[in-house]
Symmetry: C2
Amino acid sequence: MQHKIVLQESDIPKQWYNIVADIGKPMPPVLHPATLEPVGPDDLAPLFPMSLIEQEVSTERWIDIPEEVMEVYRLWRPSPLYRALNLEKAIGTKSKIYYKYEGVSPAGSHKPNTAIAQAYYNKKEGVKRLATETGAGQWGSALSLSSQLMGLECTVYMVKISFQQKPYRKSIINTWGAEVFPSPTDRTNAGRAILEKDPDNLGSLGIAISEAVEDAATHDDTKYSLGSVLNHVLLHQSVVGLETKKQFEMVGDYPDVVIGCVGGGSNFGGFADPFVMDKIAGKEVRAVAVEPFSCPTLTRGKYAFDYGDTAKMGPVAKMYTLGHDFIPPGIHAGGLRYHGDAPIISLLVKEGLMEAVAVHQLGCFEAAITFARSEGIIPAPETSHAIRVAIDEAKKFDEAGKEGVVAFNFSGHGHFDMAAYDAYLAGELQDYEYPDEKIKESLAELPKVKY
Amino acid sequence: MQHKIVLQESDIPKQWYNIVADIGKPMPPVLHPATLEPVGPDDLAPLFPMSLIEQEVSTERWIDIPEEVMEVYRLWRPSPLYRALNLEKAIGTKSKIYYKYEGVSPAGSHKPNTAIAQAYYNKKEGVKRLATETGAGQWGSALSLSSQLMGLECTVYMVKISFQQKPYRKSIINTWGAEVFPSPTDRTNAGRAILEKDPDNLGSLGIAISEAVEDAATHDDTKYSLGSVLNHVLLHQSVVGLETKKQFEMVGDYPDVVIGCVGGGSNFGGFADPFVMDKIAGKEVRAVAVEPFSCPTLTRGKYAFDYGDTAKMGPVAKMYTLGHDFIPPGIHAGGLRYHGDAPIISLLVKEGLMEAVAVHQLGCFEAAITFARSEGIIPAPETSHAIRVAIDEAKKFDEAGKEGVVAFNFSGHGHFDMAAYDAYLAGELQDYEYPDEKIKESLAELPKVKY
């Protein structure tokens, strides 16, 4: 039996897919954090190069991938689609489970798909340095690699709890020639303000975003780069789902359900959007976003305008949010600790075109171990959320007496997350569910807007 | 331009290649450590299953790969051959550089190619547990994965210096369900004897082998498994070189020189042997083995009979050796710290069919950084030795005004070696050359044999 469905370099999509063209509703406006009025390109220009701003607001269905970006994609793309024959056997399902393996990139995750595009457009417009934040370290690694390949400098603000849990992420970022600091730092006003109130603050994506945005806004030669959430990020990630569809065609199959973990939404969006395109066109397929119980943005948050960052310096967007002051506990899936979600994903969930489900940490690690011991590859804790639900969905088909086709995005390997496995195997981890009271509290801080 | 030369699963070789059939000289006998007389299959039976013993002494040119092994190979094989376009540009060479990327296996190196075969034959003959040693941790990881996939238990003795430098190797081995101990341990007579003399002993592959061999020899349901050196190991690794030749055919090219790092010789042998087959048949191709100056077995050792392990429990083989008491300094390329070398490689070097060269640690890390910043992938310190010489060889062609074709085996990624990169980037590493006196000393301890 065939495990891998392998494409050639010539099969890499030539265009990115923009689902905004197909939702049938306009995206809500993005607001200025100070005025709470819609932003124009000029407001975003201190942070992003114009070509990315254009992509951010584009309603074109297909956007050409520049040859310079394709050239770097060819270092690892197309990525394989696996039929998880061993996993199916291990859990005793009659359903078929497929996974798209994005861990083949040098950074070990899907993140370089957009990092390389962002570095390219910045370089083209004369930018010298990129500033960014990173949670689990996947994004910071990806952007440092991409900056190096495109000839840019790069500064990474890494959430302190992840910096401590994953010391070798720092080494990787340095190996690829970038600098990295544990956030909150004393390098920015945003960071200093937090440290003054709470010197032991473990950081959050929201805080780190504030620091990177401030760094970019206060340096002429520097722009900001975001690894998830934004429309242009999901756009770039669509190569994942587009390749996957081609691979399903090769074997004459099609998924009943596509699954991905969601922090900001980039891997899930990139994987699922091309399938949701089919769904909008009438095809029967479910798209399931998986988030941790400890940061339940889509399942317990509110669909509302909120700041993307803690210091209220970045744009305000309409999305599912737990409130910009929400700081989740230090679970090991650092990449899923964001208070908000991609506006595109949020709208698609709101419109019923995507579903969301929350899962517990222990069940995810259990699934990860089952996967590692059958398929071999050790998943990142983030990815284990998708595996958990893929297994659950396969079993639901079994219970219903059906043979389903389940596909999930294997967003990244866990080679830099082994301390989390240690903790799990030593029985040191526990599940955590956020109290209603706390969520209500942080949701009370949403900005009042007239849109 | 095409970066990756990609095969389909149906292109995985159906047979392993055994170069013993083509050397034109018989392999020297393997001797019993106590009697120093040639061993027969019965002597080896406490350590290995009969099918592996048969492969060990086989002179057949081609040996069928069992379907059960093929099934697991398909989890990651065939591995891609890369044209290192970015590296060529970075170093400004007119030569072509190719690398075979064995880091795609779940364990991150070429090691599972033989681990899975060994686990299969042991399982088939009723073995319940495998005991082994590991240097850098690559082999221990590979065997724990393979044991898990074949339904065997697994015990790993890991060289203490590597255990300390690479804590997450332990986590991986545990994640794949095996147990691992820092060697020397107090679990074996061999380990206890060393600890008694020197409680702070940092271990060596020789010591760890002694422990694993003793564990297997003293437990009925347990066999021993070796990740390098032996004929059957190089046999299994030949899939690497056979695939590479197919990939060169696909693009209508052929290497002038094939390069690999050498600890015990398995990745180099597996990669180079199929090309040496062509060389024996009259084709012009050089095969270059690269070792560290700090453990210069092929370049400064003696071609003689020696014990494979420190405690003189394992077989005695004719090979290049620095003496079985030789303990190299704790360089970061833990996988290259073996006092001996594969008898096959040793004979091929002796016969002039392979060359050997020693390189310094700092030059290797410099090459590794150049590679990581151009091609993306972060190499294991072992692999960096091959990269160093690949770059050097490409430049030699440039100097001679020729456009050479250089190919090397990228034996594994460095995701679990980031502490070594930290040390290098912080300027903490230095080069080391073993004093003549020390080598003379340990070579004085070779056994006196009549063969």
